[in-house]
Every structure is written in structure tokens, then in C-alpha cells.
């Protein structure tokens, strides 16, 4: 690929590409298929200081019983929670095939020393987390200490053992698409299984040009190394329409191999219900009130 170490991204061009992708019109069969696929790609998320064990248990039940009155719906891919909730979730999800993803490495700021981060990662893996969502040290990245950031990711990857590592770039703090691209390349080189846009705690979270830039980085990485890295946009994706638009973006940027929960996830807390409403609407022809869809 390019001899350049830094791959420049033109923001205007990226935005135009997004507009063109998002003008695809997804109707009928293809819409129904996309909605089902979207559900199966959700990392159902609760990341609040006030999270209770009860709330996490309820969320776990919802994860495998999205809308029982409607037949043949998939389950979500994983639930995403804070470290202290891992054992609760693991127990609640037993036998469902749904993964437990835990945030770690002093989420969301990442402002802790490396050893503390590694200890946290080891403890969530021991508690049964299948996936670890780490944050990069944005302060170091923005100061140009790329080697530090890269080394940190590599060590966290090692601490993960068999657990899958998602690396959160927190693109809202990286500001430019040039930085998003550089951080994506760096994370993939250091061993990320997934790259993820945001913690959901910083605004803007997953914006379409950011997601496109990261998908293009994944595509180039596969061309270079043959390895398929996963992608997880998170934060700000609350509607079925947005979810379907992102599926179009994946299909036309990475191809259909990535249309799978193995390689693509939505980090979202409220997306599932909007998708469910659309699925029911496609089937019955009319919208139901939100009260017909459970909140967990």
C-alpha cells in the first residue's frame, strides 16, 4: 500500500462519500434482513455509575428475549457493562451464547497508570468477560507519544488472553480524521481484534465520517496483512435508520464478510427497541406505541 506512514483523510471528501452511501434506499426484503442483522450485532450496553445488579440482570434477560411475541428474532451479540458487573452478567447469560463485554483500562478517561489498567483487564477476564473494551491514552496520543499508546495496547492484548480486545479510540477527542486514521492503524498493528469509536461519554461519539475512515483503515489493513479486524461504532446510534445506513457503509466499504456480529457491532443502549418497532411495522404495516416494547 501507500509508502506514507500517515494516511491523510480529506474531511470534505469523506463527508461526501457518507452522503452518497446514506442515500441508498433500503426497502422491503432487504430492509427486513438488515433489521434482523442489526439486532444480532448489538452490544446491549449499560455504563452508568448508578447501574445496579438488578438492572444488569434485567438487561441480560432482555438480551436473549428481545420481543418474545414476535417469532424468530435473533439475540443481541453481547452485553457491555462495567467490570464490577461481569460476574453477575456472566451468570445471568449462562447458556444463551451471548457474550459478556466489559469496559476496562480506567474507562472512560483511561487516566491511570499502565499497571492498574493491566490488573483491571486481568480481573475482568478472570471474572469471565469474553470481550474487553479498552480505551487508548488520548493524552499521550495527542502529544505524539505513539509508541507509548501502541505499547499499551499490545500489553493489554496480552493481558486479555483469549478474550477479544476492542480498542476504543474516543474519536471525539482525537478531533481530526487524520488522527482517527492514524489511531486506527496503530491499534490494529498493536493487536486489536476490534476497533471502536467511542466510550459514549464524549460528544461527538460515532459520526459517519469517523466510522467510514475506520472502515477504510480496516480494509487497507486486510489488504496489507490478510487479517480481518472488527469494527464497533458506539454512542449516538439510536435509530433503525442509522443502523441500516451503517450496514450499507460496511457492505460497500468492506464487503459482505463484515456483515456479521463476528466483525461488526453496534454499541448502543436504546437501538434495539427502535429496530424492533421497525421489524414489527414491516410485518404488520403500522407502528405500535413504545409501550408495547419492554425497557430494560
Amino acid at each position: 500500500m501507500s509508502t506514507n506512514i500517515i494516511t491523510p483523510i480529506d474531511e470534505v471528501g469523506a463527508q461526501e462519500r457518507v452522503s452518497r452511501l446514506f442515500s441508498r434506499s433500503i426497502k422491503n426484503e432487504s430492509k427486513v434482513q438488515a433489521l434482523h442483522l442489526s439486532l444480532s450485532m448489538i452490544d446491549l450496553t449499560t455504563l452508568e455509575g448508578k447501574d445496579s445488579q438488578g438492572k444488569v440482570k434485567q438487561l441480560c434477560y432482555k438480551a436473549s428475549h428481545l420481543h418474545d411475541s414476535f417469532p424468530r428474532l435473533p439475540t443481541v451479540a453481547a452485553i457491555c457493562i462495567y467490570p464490577t458487573m461481569v460476574s453477575v452478567a456472566k451468570k445471568a447469560l449462562g447458556g444463551t451464547g451471548i457474550n459478556v463485554a466489559s469496559v476496562a483500562t480506567a474507562f472512560p478517561s483511561g487516566m491511570a497508570d499502565l499497571q492498574a489498567k493491566l490488573d483491571e483487564v486481568k480481573s475482568v477476564v478472570e471474572a469471565g468477560a469474553d470481550e474487553v473494551d479498552m480505551v487508548i491514552s488520548r493524552g499521550k496520543f495527542l502529544r505524539g507519544e505513539y509508541a507509548y499508546v501502541s505499547d499499551e495496547i499490545a500489553q493489554v492484548k496480552e493481558a486479555c488472553g483469549d478474550a477479544h480486545l476492542k480498542v476504543i479510540l474516543e474519536t471525539g477527542e482525537l478531533v481530526t480524521l487524520d488522527n482517527v486514521r492514524l489511531a486506527s492503524d496503530l491499534a490494529m498493528d498493536a493487536g486489536a481484534d476490534f476497533i471502536k469509536t467511542s466510550t459514549g461519554k464524549v460528544s461527538p461519539a460515532a459520526t459517519p465520517p469517523v466510522v467510514l475512515t475506520m472502515l477504510e483503515a480496516i480494509r487497507d489493513y486486510q489488504l496489507k496483512t490478510g487479517k480481518k479486524i472488527g469494527m464497533k461504532p458506539a454512542g449516538g446510534i439510536g435509530t433503525a435508520k442509522q443502523a441500516v445506513q451503517y450496514l450499507v457503509m460496511i457492505k460497500e466499504t468492506l464487503g459482505e464478510d463484515w456483515l456479521s456480529p463476528d466483525l461488526f457491532r453496534f454499541g448502543a443502549s436504546s437501538l434495539a427497541n427502535d429496530v424492533l418497532m421497525q421489524i414489527v411495522k414491516q410485518s404488520t404495516g403500522h407502528y405500535q406505541s413504545k409501550d408495547y416494547f419492554s425497557i430494560d
Binding site: E16, S25, E216, E256, L259, P261
Partner: protein
Amino acid sequence: MNKTIKWEYSPAPESTDHIELKKQYNLFINGKFNAPKSGKYFKTINPSNEKTISSVAEADKTDVDKAVKSAKNAYEKIWSKMPAKERGKYIFRIARLLQERAREFSVIETMDGGKPIRESRDVDIPLASAHFFYHAGWADKLEYAFPGRQAKPIGVAGQIIPWNFPLLMAAWKLAPALATGNTVVLKPAETTPLTALKLAEIIQEADLPPGVINVVTGAGKTGQAIVNHPDVNKIAFTGSTEVGKYIMKAVAGSGKKYTLELGGKAANIIFEDAAIDQAVEGIINAIFFNQGHVCCAGSRLYIQEGVVDEVISKLRKRMETLIVGDPLDKNTDIGAINSKMQLQKIKSYVKMGTKEGGSIFQSSCSIPKKGFWHAPTIFTDVSQSNRIVQEEIFGPVLAIQTFRTVDEVMAKANNSPYGLSGGVWTEKGSKIFKVTQDIRAGVIWANTFNKFDPASPFGGYKESGVGSEGGIEGLSGYVNMV
């Protein structure tokens, strides 16, 4: 898990039940639709399925004479005497009516010409009404366009427009002519006359005084009658260089003013330090927009050697995602070729390119059986000496060469009888300024391509034309300075 999912887009056709088309269209002369004197009509077909949409009157010399007389009469008695701000109101009215009926016009444009609805809906029709809005504003402000001088209208303008952007080209020509106080005889192309005739209906609805705009349909002979009519004071033509040359000869010594917007073979230059993914998107827009039926299309691509493999492999991948098919489907990227004749011309160039030793790549899209279609095509291993590099193909065919130094690529970019447009892709600002100063072309885009605005003049060097359209420069083609 890990099973690959097939996910195809279901058809999403734009509905056609809301459009109104007559079985037969007459000539729009002096505010009314009149049958042609000869009684002759020709068919206009949908190039995506070869079905007849409507039949359209063929104007001969007598009909053109009638149209010119009515334009002359309207010019002398009404339009040139009307206060400029009143003229402006009419143009605003046309702009608004067009905007209100944008959906109908988009569908008709797509049916008659074959271009994807995505483009007629998002580019052609909105830009056409933008041109009317922009020029409506100038009508009573011409003293600011030409400070210190007095701009007087010319008289009757004969306007001959092409088939690639039928309504948009009509707007480019009508709007400045009306704003400056001229009257018009307009001839749309014979393969795409319908939106101009629908525009005539809007003109009626807008209560424009009879004769200010006349629309005569027909082929080359009709155009010839307009060009040679002694009472026509100005010719505005967009089309082939060949016809442009004929017009220059025909009007020589007649005192007629003229503006010609002709062919092109634009160089699109990708430097190593460009944002490659966006540049690839730019290449796609430059050559495959409107099936390549664009005079300013970026049909000669120059890639700096360090990124050749990357650009070409990404370009091929991107070409595979282009959807070729039903122009009315909202997901279609590449529609039908405008006519059988044009398709044959494109095919003969592709054959020539292969015969001359170029390496061809075409996307593996499936192509409908009926209608006129051509897959997106690129040629590598070609040189300046290949005819497909030199001549305008006016189709979805791109010729790719490589280069090492800036000087080398500048020399090659300018090594063309055309000089309409150009494109440069680099993240380095200083390089943009150097290249854009050195390319002899009317419009040069940096890190983008095919962007149009009514305020921005458009026109070419060398065999690409004479004069400009759009902006203040465009207005100056419709006035005499006192």
C-alpha cells in the same frame, strides 16, 4: 457463527404515476403550442428500455422563422422595454415553479435521457432552478455587474442545447438571456426534448409574455435553420466541437455574437500525497457521473508512480460497487447510455483501445438486455499517442497513465486540443496553486470534481469553446456594452 451473509438491495424505483406526459408535443411558439407546418413528428424513446415515450414535432425552416419572428416581436415590443425588476419577477416565478415540480421533472429527465434518478433529483433539477434564481437576482442589478458601463440586450438569442443535461443546459442558457433582456428560440436535443417542452408549460403558467421564449424541437437541420436565420443576433451552443466549428463558419461576418461550449478531455491528476480514498471517489465522480456524458469529465487520469497500484486496485474495487441498471431505481449509480448512436461510438472507442494495446478492466455488473448500456471501463498501459487518450469518448471510459514529476504531468495535461476542465489531488496547498496556474483549462477542481454553481463561470480554452456561461462572465455573453 462466521457465515457470510448475502445482502442485496431490493428494487427501489421512483414512482412514475405523478407525472403528466402527452402522447404528442407541438412546437412552443409565441406562447402557444402549434403543430409543425410539415406535420412531421419524431419519436422520443426511453434509452433504458427502448419504449417510445412521446412523439415530438419536427420544426423546419418555416417553423423556425415563425419562432424567430415571434421572438423578435416580443423583444422589440415587450421584453426589452419592460422594467428590469419586472423581468426579474418572471424569472423568479419560473424558478419557483420548477422547484415545486422538481420531482416530476426529475422523473421525466431520467426517463427521456437514461440518467440515474439520483442525479436528476440531486443535481440536474435543483441546479436548473438555482440558475433561474441566481439570474433573476441580476435582472435589475446589471449596473453592478458591469460598473461604469451600460449593458444593453442583444436581441434574439438562438440557443441549441445538448442531450447530456437537457433541462440544466436549457436553464444555463435561458436564465442569463432573460435576465439581460433578450428573447429566445431554444432547440433541445432530439433525443431529450421532453423537459424543455415541460418547461414551456411552466413558462405558460408563469404568464411570460408570448414570444419571449420559444421552443422548437428537431435535429441538426432545425439547429441549422436557427444558426442561419438573419434575425437571430446571438448563437449559444453546447455540443460537439465539430458542430461548434460549423457554427463559427456559419456566423462569420454576420455580426452575430456567439458562445460555444464544446468538448473536453480533462486531465485528473493524483499525486502521491493525496488523500487516496477520497481521490478514488473523485476519479469515480469525474468519469462515471452521468455515464461519462459530461463535457468536463475527468477522462484522462494521471497517477503518480508511488501510488499507482494502490489507486488502481482501490478504483477497481470501487467500480465493483457501482450499481448499473434501471435509471429510475434510487440506488442506481450508472444509468443507460443516451442513444444507440452514442453507445456505438463508445463501443468503437473501447474496441480501438483494446486493439491499440491498452489493458482493459470493466466492472462485472450485470447489464439489462433491452436498452443501451455500457459497463464502467478503465484502460491502463496507454500513452498520449493512443486515440482513446486524445479523443473525447463521452462515455464511461477512463484512460489511465502514470507519471513521476510535476513538470512531466503538466506537459501531458496540456498536451490536448481541449482545455475545458481539470482536477488535482494533493494534500499540499502549494502544489495545488502551482498546478492550477499551469493547466490551461477553464475550470480546475482541487480535491473534488464536477462541482457546479450558478455564480461560477464555466467555459474552455482551445477547442473546448468560446466564452463562458454562469456568473458575471456568463451575463456578458448576452449584452452589448455601451
